[in-house]
């Protein structure tokens, strides 16, 4: 970490020759992170990123297939949302803890807006879509299913329940309200989600 000053494009000299790839990547991701938090995904473009990061468009096109894909990487660089899944042995308590954290992250930090913007853009950016899907399936969804399956083995969830579906009915339900925000998202809402599933609604 020799050079982490903000440096909003002072460079200006240093000629045009080759620079170490890692240095360039770092510059790009730092700039994208800043821009995401400052202006949101909508304002992002290869053009602006190149200008702000002091990097040529050629380089960006070489390493990232679309603005969205680059934004996704910049998002993780900037947000670093570590949603570790607790395991106290009580699945219902652990789910409550986790969903409360998730709701807080989505509603009280910039991560919420960025995430919905990323999902939004992925509807028309195939590169972003597949990358996002990859990260999501191997990340958040997997963490959840692993923990749920352990609870199933412990007899806290019925054996004939496909646990992946629970992910949709818990986190997916929250995403639904984030993406079409006509109803509030808060901890009470998360509690109801859990209660409905565990106690049944009949």
């Amino acid at each position: 970490m020799t050079d982490s000053t903000p440096r909003p494009a002072i460079r200006s000299s240093r000629g045009r020759g080759r620079r170490p790839a890692d240095e360039v990547r770092a510059d790009v991701l730092r700039a994208v992170g800043e821009m995401l938090l400052r202006d949101g995904l909508a304002e992002l473009s290869f053009e602006r990123i190149a200008r702000e990061a002091g990097v040529s468009k050629t380089t960006l096109y070489k390493w990232w297939p679309s603005v969205g894909a680059l934004a996704l990487e910049g998002y993780f660089h900037a947000v670093e949302d570590t949603l570790a899944f607790p395991d106290t042995g009580d699945i219902r308590a652990d789910l409550t803890t986790q969903l409360h954290h998730f709701v807080a992250l989505m509603t009280a930090t910039p991560a919420g807006r960025l995430l919905t913007e990323l999902i939004g853009r992925s509807q028309s950016d195939p590169e972003l879509a597949s990358e996002y899907r990859r990260l999501y399936s191997s990340g958040r969804r997997r963490l959840a299913t692993v923990r749920l399956r352990r609870a199933q083995e412990a007899g806290q969830i019925r054996a004939d329940v496909p646990v992946e579906v629970l992910v949709d009915q818990l986190w997916g339900a929250i995403y639904h309200r984030l993406l079409i925000p006509d109803e509030p998202v808060d901890e009470a809402y998360a509690d109801v989600l859990i209660r409905n599933l565990f106690d049944g609604i009949a």
Copy 2:
């Protein structure tokens, strides 16, 4: 549906003066509908719509606040997906029927892609977002909550369950898989959604 030929702006005569507003609106919506089904939302732009509908950009900007908002109206003009909610008295059967229809619409017709693209774009188009929210809350979501509340009064759903949340845990769960398509969406999936809620998972 007597006239579905492409018809790339035959008009061509009739001078340039004012035309009856209704005629113009009809031309626009017809063109947008065709373009949506043919190319998808991503290819849509005021510029292209104006060209294809034989309408001036000024007119478009006067009546619609954003491409997305216009696309939304064109979507309903083209798709007209009437998802009436059945009421046989058995809520669980009715939900199954409705969700099966919904799944079919989303996976077997162009409506699915258009819908997710619209939700996607609404993440960065406030005009589209508020219009979509308005239609959604007063449309699909309301139809569902009304039916669910009736079931609640009939004692088929526990009284302390806020029925709006069920919308998120049924349709919202489906939207989740449509928007982040890493797991399949089919009738069996819909059945599990219903079973989990009615029977509970514990």
Copy 3:
């Protein structure tokens, strides 16, 4: 003169029905005069005039063939440059007087810029060109030739000199410097113009 208040478009009511033609014309010319003096000819357009004068475009198109033609009329309404030609019997003195006045008008008042702008626009606006030519030939040019011809009859100018050419070599020379302003225009310049012609340059 019942209503000569500035009135920058207060109207706002009074409905839409027919108004006396003279009242409308007066409103238009007043507004055009103001706009010309304020912004110059380049900023003028039927659209803006209609807005500022509280008059409909239909009316403007009905009475004036082009913006330039309307501007020309508005110019005379606003500037009212009465360049009467003196006649003391001494043509050289009278020319000096007249040219000094002309130079002053062109360099010290807005009339100069407006006039060159009008001549400029007339190069691409045939309606303005012919109207301007008509006014010019029957106005300034005629006043000058009449006075010059009288001097010729009085023996102050050689009989074989076509006096119309003198207009070009006096006022025309000044126009030249006004239209391609690479040399100064002042009273000394006017004096030299007269001296060159009367004394010869050989």
Copy 4:
């Protein structure tokens, strides 16, 4: 003049990347020249030029400050009116020769209309005005004054005559009739201009 076919953008292939600057400039000037001779200055616009030259608007805006400025350059590219000033030792004969050529150029070729249109537009296009002034002062006006000053040193013109003024009273007088065309412009007219000055009119 081997290639004067219209050629409405044959290129069409070659992708979209950067092209050698000289090639692009040449395409632009050729197209502008053709358009000027075909349609005149009034029909010229950045939009049309871009379309016809197969060049992007960005490029035009980068290199030329206004349509007029580009037209001026295109004019010289197309017309190439070399009005060399003869020097036979007899200034009066040389002036006659030169003015006859000038009159012919202005009345018998498209150059005349283009020139007056350019001067016209320069009244409301500062970029064009300053560029035109620069070219005019360092070109035609300078050629004339240089030749006139030499005649003055040779005693053919009185020493106290500021020769720049003669330019206004000869060419300027012609411009006057070109710009406000209410009197004819021909060789006889040119002769009178010279006679009036050299012989005096008194």
